[in-house]
């Protein structure tokens, strides 16, 4: 059974390279307690503090919060990249994370070569890699651009390639940062269909975004992160009501009721 549990996750970034006393003082004076000292008296930024939640199959969690509130750090920690300073993480299910468009890609290599590398990363054999190539080619619609180094792609094309590669191998847990929403409208539609298909197969999605409309549509639950802490948690509309300025929230509510009369799902 697919699940994802975070228990009391805290992450602190050590500030090794800014070891300046006066800077330290200024920073400590200004910031509202996010800079702290760890047990060995090193200056650290508390990026996440005591985050706990449980997700089961079919859950779609959205993360909202201002810049620097810890969304991306939480996604990275859930992906197993950062070992937490305290707390623990446990999950079952194949995980794919889409954190940076260029992640795990070598920009000097061509699209094809990057797809093959991804295949090796996933431990695939020849036949599976061929299928992966066909699927990514079909979904990304990049055509002959796949023969060019990724460095020459537009940012939207990198997004297409990255998304196609990440979702071609059906992940059971998908972790996405907001850059994925950088595609053009046509692609966004396709991407949404794929994510929806994935979620309908009882899998888990964690999405960080600033676009309230998308969160309201895609997610079944929201967490509002503020200074690395959970400020509010609940159904999308509940959390958005607190998080968004009133006029923006009304707009979201209007679109939401329109969608309710014409459901996409």
């Amino acid at each position: 059974m697919t699940y994802l549990t975070a228990f009391g996750l805290s992450v602190a970034f050590p500030l090794y390279h800014s070891d300046n006393r006066s800077l330290k003082k200024t920073v400590l004076g200004r910031a509202s307690g996010r800079f702290a000292k760890d047990d060995r008296q090193r200056l650290v930024v508390q990026a996440l503090r005591d985050i706990s939640f449980t997700m089961r199959s079919g859950d779609r969690l959205g993360l909202v919060g201002s810049n620097g509130s810890g969304k991306t750090t939480l996604l990275r920690t859930l992906s197993g990249i950062y070992q937490p300073a305290s707390g623990s993480l446990s999950m079952e299910g194949r995980l794919t994370s889409l954190l940076d468009p260029g992640q795990g890609m070598n920009l000097d290599l061509t699209g094809w070569e990057n797809i093959r590398l991804r295949g090796y990363f996933l431990g695939m054999g020849k036949a599976d890699i061929a299928r992966l190539e066909a699927d990514v080619e079909d979904f990304s619609e990049l055509g002959q651009f796949l023969d060019l180094p990724v460095r020459n792609y537009s940012s939207g094309m990198v997004v297409r390639l990255a998304f196609a590669m990440a979702t071609a191998v059906h992940p059971e847990i998908l972790i996405m940062d907001e850059w994925i929403l950088a595609g053009d409208a046509g692609f966004m539609d396709k991407a949404k269909h794929r994510v929806e298909a994935m979620v309908r197969h009882a899998d888990i999605l964690v999405l960080a975004s600033h676009q309230a409309g998308i969160l309201a549509q895609w997610c079944s639950r929201l967490i509002w992160l503020d200074q690395g802490r959970v400020r509010a948690e609940g159904s999308p509309m509940e959390v958005l009501a607190q998080y968004l300025p009133p006029q923006q929230f009304e707009e979201i509510e209007k679109t939401k009721s329109l969608l309710a009369t014409n459901p996409v799902f």
């Binding site: 990249i81 446990s90 194949r94 992640q103 990363f121 197969h201």
Partner: protein, 293 residues
């Protein structure tokens, strides 16, 4: 709305990565377990490490006519130029000196590159480490494989020099193979240790490279170890020089110079210490590397 295409269903079965747990640091038992998991994951991804290393070489020489054979050519030119000069300076016979210098220089260059790439094996792939969960050992293996591919190109120079100088080879030379395998293990251990250490302390690579520079002069590479026989103080240079033993276990068999058991033991002790320190060091630092790069 369309369902998942058929290809996805097929691909789905291939990869399994079912359970994953990660908790805050819980002491040495967990550290060694995680390091072990990392190593096993790295072994499973050998093809990835291999193709990453290959693409590194290909990219470095993309668009050049000779490609990686530039390495062979520049090594050949350097050795050719040095050999005649030093053979004259040291009053030795070029027929024994040239093969000696060739093997020594090529092995030393390999070792030197292994160390310098090992130092940056994690800090160079910062975006990969922060973008995707991947065993750290893959990055160390990539650096070792990349340099071994370069070494393979340079072997042509050795073969050519041996042929021209008429060096006779015997089955005894095959003893170089276990010696070389030991090198590979050492190189990997050194990469995970130095890679982590250098990611944390950015001055360390420079310090290590200066040490390597000195080691080049105090190790019998351009000169014979026998030159020190009459200088008891000088002999200390070799006796406490780990590089000497490691070089000798590969170089000795290739050149047909007899190897003592003592030499083999010392090379094994040096490697054992390195592997032990690397294992402990890697287990200790593994969880922090992502924060450091």
């Amino acid at each position: 709305m369309s369902d998942l295409p058929a290809t996805e269903r097929a691909i789905r079965a291939s990869e399994t990565q079912p359970l994953f747990t990660l908790s805050a640091d819980r002491g040495w038992i967990q550290r060694f377990q995680l390091a072990g998991t990392d190593l096993r994951g790295g072994v499973k991804l050998w093809r990835l490490a291999w193709s990453l290393a290959f693409s590194d070489i290909r990219l470095r020489y993309r668009g050049s006519a000779l490609g990686p054979f530039w390495l062979t050519l520049s090594t050949a030119i350097m050795i050719g130029a040095m050999a005649f000069l030093y053979a004259d300076l040291f009053h030795t016979d070029i027929h024994t000196y040239l093969p000696y210098l060739t093997v020594s220089i090529i092995l030393w260059n390999y070792l030197n590159m292994l160390v310098s790439d090992g130092c940056t094996c994690f800090s160079q792939v910062e975006s990969m480490i922060r973008g995707i969960r991947m065993p750290f050992t893959v990055h160390a293996a990539r650096s070792v494989i990349r340099n071994t591919i370069i070494l393979a190109h340079n072997i042509i120079v050795v073969v050519a020099v041996f042929a021209i100088m008429g060096v006779s080879m015997s089955l005894y030379s095959l003893w170089a193979i276990p010696g070389f395998l030991l090198w590979l293990i050492d190189a990997f251990a050194m990469s995970i240790l130095f890679g982590a250490f250098c990611a944390r302390f950015r001055d360390v690579p420079q310090i290590i490279m200066s040490v390597m520079q000195i080691a080049f002069f105090v190790t019998p590479i351009m000169w014979y170890a026998s030159l020190l026989e009459k200088h008891p103080e000088g002999e200390l240079l070799i006796r406490f020089n780990p590089f000497y033993y490691l070089l000798e276990i590969v170089r000795g068999p290739l050149l047909g110079t007899p190897m003592t058991l003592d030499m083999v033991w010392k090379a094994l002790i040096v490697s054992g210490v390195l592997i032990l320190v690397a294992t402990v060091g890697f287990a200790r630092t593994r969880g922090r590397i992502a924060y450091w790069v």
